[in-house]
Symmetry: C2
Subunit: 341 residues, 2 copies
């Protein structure tokens, strides 16, 4: 009587180079060479080995190779908040370049929490060849200690001695501030992002400098978080400053500002102009559509992977890539309203 077969598909243990060696009548080391360094083996032997490998459906065991080489072929990416649409394009760019290089992308989200971020970074670093930190909230010391383990690349963050990929900041901010100035705005607000965000610091500085150069005053207001809710909640405080325009650290804040303004009866752009950063998904779909500073996140993701692969290869080129930024003028900015009666 036949043994009852289970319904489950059989998963026989995968063939190894020893199986191939036996089948092809050669040594395992020859198989390894035939498969990895074509040309170092006689044409006929190589053909015989490849045929045997195909027949057996051989697949290299990457763990065995990793154990040998110390390299995994994995690149890790940790980001501060993966539900922020600004990162979608970055991840997609990073994923594409990683896949093209035959590597695979490892992935964790720190939910804007330093402890989770550190934990995730350490966890991923054990199984990856290097780490990309996107919008990290870690301290310089923490990042440095991570980089003592394996190569680390920061994205939109600068730490001395660590390779980085950062978006260019100045051009977009120049355009945004000048745009508001041309529309007649003289008193503006900058609604801050997280204090631990390097990019927030940069935007703050450049806005301050540009505004000063044009004779505008800027009030810096903290937000509860770089989220729609944070922007929503900030509306009364923004209005209280008497400013006629607000630049928000990111589009999420700007979205919330728009939402809150509408509920508070503040007419955008007639009595308040709003500018965001990032040009995230949906920015052009709002009514009115959002004026915002776009950065090319996809390029940034690609640049980060390139920088990391360089660092892993031991190449010291710390050329920090700087994808351009540009102001996209849409409907949330307008001329300053004539003074009231």
């Amino acid at each position: 009587m036949g043994v009852p077969m289970t319904e489950r598909t059989r998963r026989p243990s995968a063939p190894t180079i020893y199986d191939i060696a036996e089948k092809a009548g050669v040594a395992a080391s020859t198989v390894s060479r035939a498969l990895n360094k074509p040309g170092r083996i006689s044409t006929e032997t190589e053909a015989r080995i490849r045929a045997a490998a195909d027949e057996l459906g051989y697949r290299l065991n990457p763990m065995a190779r990793s154990l040998q080489s110390g390299l995994t072929g994995n690149l890790a990416l940790v980001m501060s908040d993966m539900t922020n649409p600004v990162y979608f394009d970055l991840v997609r760019g990073a994923e594409r370049v990683t896949a093209d290089a035959g590597c695979t992308l490892l992935f964790a989200d720190s939910q804007e929490n330093v402890d989770i971020e550190l934990d995730a970074a350490q966890r991923l670093l054990r199984v990856a060849d290097g780490l990309m930190l996107v919008g990290s909230r870690l301290s310089d010391e923490q990042i440095l200690s991570l980089s003592a383990l394996k190569p680390v690349v920061t994205v939109n963050r600068l730490v001395d001695g660590i390779p980085a990929a950062t978006a260019e900041v100045e051009v977009g901010v120049h355009q945004a501030v000048r745009h508001l100035h041309e529309l007649g705005h003289r008193d503006i607000v900058y609604l801050e992002g997280p204090s631990a965000s390097w990019m927030n610091g940069r935007r703050h500085e450049v806005i301050a400098a540009d505004a000063a150069a044009l004779g505008m005053t800027v009030t810096f207001l903290d937000s509860d978080g770089p989220t729609i809710e944070g922007g929503h909640a900030a509306v009364p405080r923004v209005v209280a400053t008497g400013a006629t325009a607000v630049i928000a650290f990111n589009d999420l804040l700007a979205f919330g500002l728009l939402q809150g303004s509408r509920e508070a009866g503040v007419d955008v752009p007639v009595s308040l102009s709003v500018v965001g950063f990032d040009d995230i998904f949906g920015a052009n779909l709002l009514t009115p559509p959002l004026t915002t500073v776009r950065s090319h996140m996809r390029n940034l993701g690609e640049a980060a992977v390139l920088a990391l692969r360089n660092a892993i290869a031991g190449e010291d080129e710390r050329e920090t890539e700087r994808p351009a930024t540009e102001l996209i003028v849409r409907g949330t900015t307008g001329p300053v309203a004539p003074a009231g009666p």
Copy 2:
């Protein structure tokens, strides 16, 4: 003369269990046991070993363990389009559960392309213990052949013999169709998603059945793709049917429908009601905000990971999780307009 030190941080090769063994004066096998099966070792030896490990800053080499066990601790996720906001919550849910289990998430995007999807799936499967296929466009045969290699779980897709996590469909569709019926709509359109999408097939079927039961007619219209552009381009054909309401396969299509309607001077919801699926980021921010069928993608992501871990553990429980769906009524649906003069 001192040898000039390079600026680069030194990355000394990591300590192994042999280093610990030497320092603690025991055998490597004892170290392994002390670290992995606490209790099987005398308390004092274990303490000595742990102290030595700490002092050395020991970290387990996961490749070595993997080579031994055949398991990597990696779970792979391949999705059809990671820029579709519907997946953000799914990924976040999956990532969280994966991390909680001490595993790590591997990640690829197929950009709605079958070849890329198959390629990515095979690539990831070599370095992961199992694979989650989200919104797969692969054929049943392709999925089956993948699952011959390692455990595979499908998300929002059913293949005979493959464990799956799917969102419940019926309740949300019932609510949507009934909602339109109550508003007086009798002729509606279903704007289709990709024909290779299992979920599109399900939605199609249930809408057809529900509409028939309520005496409504439904016209099925193909779209160029499940994107904003696809929805935008479909507006003339939707209008040409004379239908008073349209249900779109997903919110991206619905967004495009809204955008196209506005440009074509079609007033939503006065002369056309629009319903989407997914309740993606931005759906509530539009003007008018989108009426849509929400599914709890985060739960779906969690369910997928659970199912995959079950499959890897060899547990045969094919209990397919079914996170609920519900209609979120907002501003894009309204009573059918009185017949013209």
